[in-house]
Amino acid sequence: MPPARAWRNYPQLYRLEAARCTKCGTVHFPPRLVCSHCRNRSFETFRLGRTGQLVSYTVIRTPSAEFTGQAPFAVGIVEMDDRVRLTAQVVDVGFDELRVGLPVRLEFRRISAEGESGVIHYGYKAAPVRG
């Protein structure tokens, strides 16, 4: 991946920066230029809280080329407590623990690496909230 393509998403991948519409309050992650709910064009930037819950999930057993070495792995759609949804790998979890409503926390993790001297990509993955 060209470094610029990765770099422009760092505010979301590293800091979970989202945009809240100043008119209707809808939260967008990643931020957009126009609100898809009310078409307003001004937003305030804020950092999402790290917690949410699974609204659906699967276990990928046949991956695409890029993820060949990682299968099987769990993926879920997470509804964040800040009322926006995102897709993330679900880690540190037994596949039989996966359920709709499972409380999770987004953690900063390594996503992929481009060889020995290439860029290492970081981002978020979801882990169950324990205890």
Binding site: S36, T68, I77, T87
Partner: protein
């Protein structure tokens, strides 16, 4: 707007066509459609193809194919809307004839998917999702539909057996279709014990990777008498989009774009779901057929699974779905699928389908979908 009719159809057997190139596959089907209609010239053509660049290292496909069809200098347009590319090519061809701009237009689709490895094909197909914000997680297309299945099972109690029943029924229909890629009959047990792809979906819940093409010829309805075959009238067309990221949709257990596209097609045709005799729908995965049978209004939300299990969607059932075998058994060369649905509906309405003929069929519906439901086309065709 003028009324429009389908007057010719063309489609060869689908499968792993290793001896043939994308241009050969497409030209064979296009010539069949032209011969079926009895025309040797077209005014214009549309080609639905999702990713000839990634699958065949060939862009600028529309001009290449016009040349190889021997139709020099005709306006040619390639259309891309992921797996709905073929349905969209058909809609644009219909619009061009309806507008009065052209009198003989070819609508077609093609994909040559087996020249790349399985994992490369999975990657190419994954580009129909939000590559950044879904793709980063490693989710695949089966994975996205698996999450829709989990949501539908959680909300409505849909069962694993009900999902499997869709594949069993479509392979049964496909066994009667000489053009199907996988015409073998299968059982619920076969599906549940086949290779795991993305829980709860197994390989026999998934449509295959296929080489294939399909083509149809459209003309003004008041000119059908000039041609060899009886015309089939296009009475409704609907088209809608949705977020391509599944996570941005409020209800994961419904396909809203399909419901909106269907509303548009029903309104234009002056029909309701009860008026439809049979449908060809986008069963890229077993759960998709259940979701679509609800979005089209054939069953209430949550009733698609029980309806499949009760045999209501089988040949001879209340509303036969995918008499062709669907994407599941017939194959799914993505850009060709939407046009192949029109081929099947036309042949059904002409009464040419032999052992898989829907008896007394007068009104057919085609539903073609891109990605996890980010685009959808619905067409209604009727006997003239």
């Amino acid at each position: 707007m003028r009324d429009v009719a389908v007057i010719g159809v063309g489609m060869q057997k689908w499968g792993e066509l290793w001896a043939k190139s994308i241009r050969d596959i497409w030209v064979e089907s296009a010539l069949m459609a032209m011969d079926d209609a009895g025309v040797d010239h077209i005014d214009s053509m549309y080609v639905g193809s999702m990713s000839p660049g990634l699958f065949s290292s060939q862009e600028h496909l529309e001009s290449l194919l016009a040349d190889y069809l021997g139709q020099h200098h005709v306006p040619a347009t390639r259309v891309e809307s992921a797996c709905a590319s073929g349905g969209l090519a058909f809609r644009l061809a219909w619009m061009e004839v309806a507008s009065g701009l052209s009198d003989v237009v070819l609508a077609s689709g093609v994909e040559k998917m087996t020249d790349v490895s399985g994992s490369e094909a999975t990657h190419a197909l994954a580009t129909a999702a939000d590559m950044k914000w879904e793709g980063m997680s490693g989710v695949t297309f089966p994975g996205l539909y698996a999450m829709m299945a989990v949501a539908h099972m959680h909300k409505y109690g849909t069962t694993r057996q009900q999902l499997a029943q869709v594949a069993v029924k479509n392979h049964e229909n496909g066994s009667k279709n000489p053009r199907a890629q996988f015409p073998m009959r299968i059982t619920v047990e076969d599906v549940i014990h086949s290779v795991q792809v993305a829980d709860p979906l197994n390989i026999l819940d998934c449509s295959p990777i296929t080489d294939g093409a399909a083509a149809v010829i459209l003309v003004p309805a008041d000119q059908v008498k000039k041609y060899k075959k009886p015309g089939v009238k296009v009475t409704g067309s609907g088209h809608a989009t949705d977020t391509i990221a599944l996570h941005s949709r409020e209800d994961l257990a419904a396909i809203r774009a399909a419901a909106i596209a269907a509303e548009g097609a029903y309104r234009m045709a002056g029909k309701t779901p009860k008026d439809i005799d049979f449908a060809e729908v986008h069963d890229c995965f077993t759960i998709a057929e259940i979701l679509i049978s609800e979005a089209l209004g054939f069953f209430e939300p949550g009733q698609g699974g029980p309806a499949a299990e009760a045999g209501w969607t089988a040949l001879g059932g209340r509303i036969p779905i995918n008499p062709s075998g669907g994407l599941k058994s017939k194959g799914h060369p993505v850009g060709a699928t939407g046009v192949a649905q029109i081929v099947e509906i036309t042949e059904q309405l002409r009464g040419e389908c032999g052992p898989r003929q829907v008896k007394g069929a007068r009104v057919g519906l085609a539903q073609n979908m891109g990605g996890s439901g980010g685009s959808c086309l619905v067409h209604i065709l009727e006997v003239m």
